[in-house]
Subunit: 363 residues, 4 copies
């Protein structure tokens, strides 16, 4: 049992405070870690506002340490096959396996029965604390420490890697590419302009898609610069919906969770199109689909795939793409970190800065 300072909530009731908590020794842990940066996302804010009913405290605790996006320094670690040593930087895996067939294969992101835990969200303390203990089996090493300033983006980026794995699998049901085997004339639309949206759009570019990010209002200069650097187009679809959707959509990725918006763009999808549902917004109002919409999905062989979380392999992939983007796009990429806060500044959990891409806490 040890007492540490941590950013705490009481799930699913909500609230947030920076204070002390007594944490029991973590079974089977062979590494001591200190967070360097932890990131804040909509899930954290949802837990704090008390609107995510699936969140819950760890068994035997009356509060939950927040935080699932992090990059940590290794203070101490036992022998391990991952070549991780004290002084290295690592990203801990958020979701921990249960005992279903997917979990046993290291694919707790595809858990078959829901019996898994997520750090900082469902029944397991998160990473927003002075230090914590974990097992090296769940630590992903940051091979190139020169990307430390952006490595906290690994967690949101790993979701993108998994979603593209899903895309790769489901798009094989037909020939998705053009007659030169490429995607140069295929159009990927990403709904949203937050950090996940940008990370998705960057990956669309890696696949060679013509890539568009979308919002119903203009975006600021910083976002436009990053889009420019990567050859991503931005459209304010409140103005030019018909024009921007001319030519149709081959890959549609939603980060909004907003049915009406999703369906509006879905009705512009091309034959064999793939729609990845990633964003969630449990309170979003309903929007109807009618017989002609079902008909559209059927006649065009359209695939719609929900995608949540990611496997450990996707953390490794995420780190490699972050590494590339950090080198190739330089400051334009690093500028995705739009605000750095101290652990005490807990008001960042209840307000979203206007130009936020990613707000992080420096420990």
């Amino acid at each position: 049992m040890a007492q540490v300072n941590a950013i705490l909530t009481d799930a699913p009731k909500g609230g947030v405070r920076y204070g002390k908590i007594d944490i029991r020794d973590e079974e089977g842990a062979n590494a001591k870690l200190e967070p360097v940066y932890t990131g804040i996302c909509g899930t954290d804010r949802g837990i704090v506002s008390g609107s995510l009913q699936f969140a819950y405290n760890p068994q035997g605790y009356s509060s939950l340490v927040l935080g699932h996006e992090s990059v940590c320094k290794v203070i101490d670690i036992g022998e391990n096959p991952y070549h991780i040593r004290p002084g290295d930087y690592v990203v801990p895996v958020v979701r921990r396996p249960g005992d279903c067939v997917n979990c046993l294969a290291g694919r707790q992101d595809n858990c078959s029965d829901g019996n898994k835990h997520e750090a900082g969200i469902t029944g397991m303390h998160g990473f927003m604390r002075e230090y914590f203990y974990d097992h090296s089996d769940y630590l992903v090493k940051v091979k190139d420490p020169s990307i430390l300033d952006v490595a906290v983006l690994t967690e949101p980026t790993k979701n993108v890697m998994k979603a593209f794995e899903v895309f790769s699998v489901v798009s094989k049901r037909a020939i998705f590419h053009n007659r030169h085997s490429t995607l140069t004339d295929k159009r990927a639309f990403v709904i949203g302009t937050g950090s996940e949206a940008f990370l998705y759009a960057l990956m669309c570019r890696e696949y060679g898609f013509e890539t568009v990010i979308l919002n119903r209002h203009p975006i600021d200069e910083r976002k436009l610069s990053l889009a420019d650097a990567a050859g991503i187009e931005f459209h304010d679809y409140s103005k030019d919906f018909d024009q921007v959707t001319q030519g149709g959509i081959d890959l549609l990725i939603d980060t909004s969770g907003h049915p009406e918006t999703i369906f509006r763009f879905m009705r512009k999808m091309n034959y064999n199109g793939v729609l990845i549902l990633f964003g969630t917004n449990g309170k979003a109002p309903g929007a109807p689909l009618d017989g002609s919409d079902i008909d559209y999905i059927v006649e065009r062989n359209i695939t719609i795939a929900g995608s949540v979380d990611a496997a450990q392999v996707h953390y490794y992939q995420a780190l490699e793409y972050i590494r590339k983007w950090r080198y190739v796009y330089g400051k334009a990429f690093a500028s995705m970190i739009t605000g750095v806060y101290s652990p005490e500044e807990t008001d960042i959990f209840s307000r979203k800065p206007a130009e936020e891409i990613k707000s992080v806490i420096k420990w």
Copy 2:
């Protein structure tokens, strides 16, 4: 140019009559065929009622010969690599390729641009005429003539084969099977109790699923017998929706095209579940999906796939399964043909007999 008796409509206006039409010589045809049986489905009735706006007459014609489900006798045929000879029975392929990358690979069912034609539906005369000419490249031989009485089911069955191909591809995004590699405890639900629904359910059984067919009213003895023979359960979900959906749904197949019904069952899907949309009903009223529904699809890694038509390879597969089912289930399977009509009895296009599974025309 030759004058033949045919069942005619004027697409997309509708109407139906058995009468004479002058047909131009068909380019590139090397086979003369006479239909033995042609089947009637919802698409035919939709065209006749004038409710399918995508239907159209062949270029230069003011009417359209109906009919896409058929088994035909070969009257005359040129040399061909398919070992088809005069006197053989064949099923002609419905959809003919355009020049997109999928069509060029023989996958016009996955046509990328919509530039294909469908016999009896879109811009190409169908098979409900005394005789017609076609090319051997689009004829699938019935190897075992002892199944002639049910071979007209090849066309609807080939859709099932394609949909299961889609299922096989998209379900690979996670481990779909149980920890013994089988589907014995996985549950497939098929919405509908028409011919397509039964063919889907029979195929679910081949995969080893616990299989349920669903309607909102009881079904007659003949249908129950076929279900029994194949180990398929029937449920009248207007009565026991909660009970029947307990345990969840792993594979949900819709043949109704009715959004409200589809969504009701979709909300009972298990993790990694797959929903195949096959049925279409352009006039079905809208039903809403809200934020929590999107959330459900995301968190559970659910995949929804529209599936239309099928490739030539699926006709071959369909014939092999029909062959198996004809031998193994015997009369229970043959009784899927619930009514045999003459070409003159065109009223069958505007009424659906109460106990119909499949109505056919004998030529």
Copy 3:
């Protein structure tokens, strides 16, 4: 501990006798089974002759009960989710999982580390005994008892199902089918004319291949009749190698384990061809491959895949295909059982009848 009569060997030394053995209670078993038929294959004969060094007795035993091919009657069984009841017939699974990632997913056929057991072969008693106990999790029910006379073919057939799964996966690296999406002009060659060869050839026909089985000597009438019934060609390649291989080979399946023969046919494979290695013959002499052979494999994008054993799902598939073949091919298929012996006639383990396809023991 119970004493039963069994067919025994001392692995890997060899020998065979029908006699008594004391068997310890089998942990976790909830079913009592009596074999109806058990099949004999090359592996059994190899163990008896002492030439299979990987075979070994179960821990704590000085002998091994033989037998991995079987169909059994259920004498007694606990409650189970497989709807298996006393009086039913079942096929027990041969290979039992270790704890590698493939075994945990029910794919012990793809065991990653070799820590599995095989009934009657490696460290686990086989099925050739008056009765035995097993767990329902490893029993596959014979749904249709009318195929009891051929259900003992399930075990060899399940290997075919797995090999075709492998083919389906690896052949996706290019478009394998023709421009009509079918395999009607693709050529499958199966080396060998034993039971496995015939079962492979029957499955090639299900896929639509032009199918050839091959041996270096003529085969008898019974085999020719079965080949005929299924549209399989036989060639004595000692006579017409050049002629029969004209046109090339798209899918080559070996059941001989004989390198020289395999390579001879491999050099005739078409672009994107797939070679399945299934047969094993540890004593077969070496045959060389030179630089031009490697070149051929590279330039033609050829894939060679070893395939051993099968998963539980393949037992289910095997039973369904056996069911179809039993109904459709009737006696021609049933005649694959070429000899029925009593347990006492153990000389059948040391001699192979001239016209043998499958010899079985009736219990």
Copy 4:
């Protein structure tokens, strides 16, 4: 018809000279290109030495312009959907499609019948000439001109991309990864230490493999530095074969085309291992495989896949990885270009500098 200076051979007789050739106008070309760098590989040297019998002059020519590895400057270009403009740099595609089903889908690398052409090799003039005309459909744009010094590596790298596509497909036949979904403890061995070997090894690292490159002699400092930078181990297997192969091999990639060496390492492959055959050496002597080798491949579910050339999509992928490697590994990567020659220095086609990784010609 225009006369240009070019590096010429007379295929398949061989020889090399820098001189003038009259080239007919190229049909359908809409772009004029000047090479900046062209690379030299074993194929070029094989053609020059007259040892590649499959090489041939274009129809109507008595000589062949050499060169398939290149990066070119666009002098003039018509309107095109690829955003290529005069002044841009591009890599032209080597292999041009025939009319088989794979070629029609843009996969001439998987050509089903051999009816394709390769620039500088089989029936089509190569890129080693002052300027040439081509169609924009076969030009891949270098988006980031800051990698111009290494962009000539695109052509050899695209082969690596295709081989990994093959690996991705065939390795799906079992669970290839460990129980954490990663490859951190999986071992990739690359036979050879030339440019292709290094590019393969770099890609193995991207997948997370423990990666080893192998030769039967030591390698120089420059090569060791590049290996170090990327975390690749080198082993001189003439010394420590047993030690280095302890732990087995999960992915084996051959760039040597030498059967004896390939088989020696193949016998150390782990369960579910994949062997990619890429290197060719038509004159390499034969080495035997015997029954126990076949047994090994079967029992371990090993897959062996020949892989040649690549599709246009792989050129795009290659450029993105080269871009990453150029930024991340900096000079260590750029030092793969070990020698720069003028077009007149044609002796480079008949000798291989000792420390060569890649020799290029500057135009």
